[in-house]
C-alpha cells in the first residue's frame, strides 16, 4: 500500500506518541487490539478565567499507518483548542487530507471514538 507524504511524515515520526499523567489529564480509548485497531488519547486541560483549553495531547495507537498518522495530527492540532468532544476536523475531511482509502473509514471512526471518550463525561483521569 502506498501512503501520502503527510501520512508518511506523521507515521515515521509521531511526535505526540506517549502518555500524560496528572489530575488535569483526561483519557479515552476506542477500538480494541484484538480487533486490530486501538487508539488512546490523553488530553491535559488548562483552565484560565473560567475558560478551558486543550494544553497537551498524547496518543497511543495499535493501528495501521493511516490511523497512527491521523492520531498524531489530531494530537498536534487540538492543542490550544476547545475541550468539546469534537475532532479538529471531521472524519471525512481527515480521510481526504490523509488520502485514506474508503475501506478504512471505520478505522478513522475509532480515532473519533477515542477523542470523544477522552473529552466526554464521565471523565477518566490518569493517575498523578
Amino acid at each position: 500500500m502506498n501512503y501520502s507524504d503527510l501520512t508518511w511524515r506523521h507515521f515515521e515520526n509521531p511526535r505526540c506518541a506517549g502518555v500524560l499523567s496528572g489530575a488535569a489529564v483526561r483519557r479515552g480509548a476506542g477500538g480494541s487490539r484484538a480487533q486490530g485497531t486501538w487508539v488512546q488519547f490523553d488530553v491535559r486541560i488548562s483552565s484560565r478565567n473560567q475558560e478551558s483549553r486543550v494544553e497537551a495531547v498524547r496518543f497511543l495507537a495499535y493501528a495501521c499507518p493511516h490511523v497512527i498518522a491521523v492520531a498524531d495530527w489530531v494530537a498536534q492540532k487540538a492543542v490550544g483548542g476547545p475541550t468539546e468532544p469534537v475532532l479538529p476536523e471531521s472524519v471525512h475531511a481527515l480521510r481526504e487530507r490523509f488520502e485514506v482509502p474508503i475501506e478504512k473509514l471505520g478505522r478513522l471512526l475509532i480515532v473519533e471514538d477515542a477523542w470523544i471518550a477522552a473529552l466526554s463525561p464521565p471523565y477518566r483521569e490518569t493517575a498523578a
Binding site: 507515521f11 509521531p14 506518541a17 506517549g18 487490539r33 497511543l60 495499535y62 495501521c64 499507518p65 497512527i68
Partner: protein, 396 residues
C-alpha cells in the same frame, strides 16, 4: 518498481533474479545469430538447433530432480504444472474415484484448483498440520478412501519453509494402491535434495524463477515408469507428449535447464552458507522480546525464516521496514489482499500474530552485511511501533 540501492532484498521465496550465467545462455537463443528457430520445426537446421537445446535442457532439469528426461513436460510455471497435475489426474480418473487429499497449508496454486474441483463434484480432504507445520504421514493414511485418486502435498512450504516428509507420505500412498502422489516442489530446487524416481513420486511441479531462472517457465514431471496418465488441459499442436500443446519457448527452457544445473552443482555449498546467514538473522531478531519463530526449525529449509512480532499491527510493521528491506507478509501471490496468512492461521497463530509476521527468504546474493542491516531495520521499527502502541512487550 526498482528497489533503491539501500533496500535489502530478502524475498527470494517470491522470486529470484536470473543468475547472469543463466541469462547469458538464454540470450544465445533469442537473436538471428542464435537458436531462435521453432523447436517443433524439424525440417531445417534452425529448428533442429533449437530442439537440441530444448532436449539438453530437459536432460538438465531431469537430472536435477532424479527423473528421466522423458518425464519432463514444460509448462509456464509451477501454477500451470499444479493445475495440470490436479485437473489432469482428476479428470482422467473420474470414473475410478473423485476424492483428493491435500493440506491446508498448500500454495493457492493447489488449493484453488481443489476448490474448483469441489465445485465440479469432487470431494477434497484438507489436512491440518501440527503447530510446527508438519504433517504426520498417519494423517494422510487416515484420510485415504477407496475412491481417493490423488494426494497433493508440497515439499517445502513457501511461507514457513517447513519440509514435509515426502518419503513417508509416498510410502503411505504406495501401500494404499493406485492413489497418485503429486508434490509441489517450487521452493525446493537448489535448497533441498529431492529424488523423484527414488521416492517413487508420480508427479512433481517445478518452477524456474524460484531458482535463479526466468519467470514464465516451469515443468510438470510425470512418471512414465509408474504409468501415470493425465487428461490434457490445453490443445493445439500436441507438443510435450500431447499434454501441453504450444510452441516450446526455447530461451525459457534453456534458462531453466541452466538454472537447475547450477542449483544442483552449488546446492551443498549454497545451502550451508545461507543456513549460517539465516541463523545470524534469527539470532538478531530473536534478541528482540516477543518474537516468535514459525515452523519447526529442525525441519525448515535453510533459506526461510518466518517470524511473528507481538504487540505490533501488521500493516504498520510492513510499512516501517519497507524502505530498508524487501520482505513479504506471506505468499507473494496472495499478500496483495492484506489478509493474514492462511498458512499461519492453519498452524494456530491468532489473526493478530498472523498479520504481524514477516517472511524473510535469503538467497544466492545475500550477504552478512545485508542480514545485519535487516536486523537493525527491523529492530528499529519494532521498538518504535511498540512505543507508539504502548505495547507491554518492548524491544530490548
Amino acid at each position: 518498481m526498482t528497489g533503491s540501492r539501500k533496500t535489502v532484498y530478502l524475498d527470494y521465496a517470491a522470486t529470484t533474479p536470473v543468475d547472469p550465467r543463466v541469462a547469458a545462455r538464454m540470450a544465445e537463443c533469442l537473436t538471428q545469430e542464435g537458436a531462435f528457430g521453432n523447436p517443433g520445426s524439424t525440417s531445417h537446421d534452425y529448428g533442429e538447433a533449437a530442439r537440441a537445446l530444448v532436449e539438453a535442457a530437459r536432460v538438465r532439469v531431469a537430472a536435477a530432480v532424479g527423473a528421466a528426461p522423458a518425464d519432463i513436460v514444460w509448462t509456464s510455471g509451477a501454477t500451470e504444472a499444479n493445475n495440470l497435475a490436479l485437473f489432469g489426474v482428476a479428470i482422467y480418473q473420474r470414473d475410478t474415484g473423485r476424492h483428493i487429499v491435500t493440506a491446508r497449508t498448500e500454495h493457492k496454486a493447489v488449493l484453488d484448483p481443489c476448490r474448483e474441483l469441489e465445485r465440479r463434484g469432487w470431494s477434497v480432504t484438507y489436512l491440518k498440520p501440527g503447530s510446527g507445520g508438519l504433517l504426520d504421514p498417519a494423517q494422510v493414511a487416515a484420510a485415504l478412501k477407496p475412491d481417493t485418486v490423488l494426494v497433493s502435498i508440497m515439499h517445502v512450504n513457501n511461507e514457513i519453509g517447513v519440509i514435509q516428509d515426502i518419503a513417508a507420505i509416498a510410502a503411505v500412498c504406495a501401500a494404499h494402491g493406485t492413489v497418485r502422489l503429486h508434490v509441489d516442489a517450487a521452493q525446493s530446487i537448489g535448497k533441498c535434495p529431492l529424488d523423484f524416481a527414488r521416492l517413487g513420486l508420480d508427479l512433481l511441479s517445478l518452477s524456474a524463477h524460484k531458482s535463479y531462472g526466468p519467470k514464465g517457465v516451469g515443468a510438470l514431471v510425470v512418471s512414465r515408469t509408474r504409468g501415470v496418465q493425465l487428461q490434457a488441459l490445453q490443445f493445439g499442436g500436441g507438443q510435450e507428449r500431447d499434454l501441453r500443446s504450444g510452441t516450446v519457448a526455447t530461451h525459457q527452457v534453456v534458462g531453466m535447464g541452466a538454472a537447475f544445473e547450477l542449483a544442483s552443482a552449488e546446492q551443498a555449498a549454497e545451502t550451508a552458507r545461507v543456513a549460517l546467514l539465516r541463523e545470524r538473522l534469527w539470532r538478531g531478531l530473536g534478541s528482540l522480546k516477543g518474537v516468535l519463530r514459525n515452523g519447526e526449525p529442525e525441519h525448515t529449509a535453510a533459506q526461510l525464516l518466518n517470524v511473528s512480532f507481538e504487540g505490533i499491527e501488521g500493516e504498520s510493521l510492513l510499512a516501517a521496514v519497507r524502505p530498508f528491506i524487501a520482505v513479504s507478509t506471506g505468499s507473494a501471490c496472495t499478500s496483495s489482499n492484506q489478509e493474514p496468512s492462511y498458512v499461519l492461521r492453519a498452524l494456530g497463530r491468532d489473526e493478530r500474530l498472523a498479520e504481524s509476521s514477516l517472511r524473510f527468504s535469503l538467497g544466492r546474493f545475500t550477504s552478512e552485511a545485508e542480514v545485519d542491516a535487516a536486523v537493525a531495520a527491523v529492530g528499529e521499527a519494532v521498538t518504535r511501533l511498540r512505543r507508539v502502541a504502548g505495547s507491554p512487550r518492548t524491544a530490548s
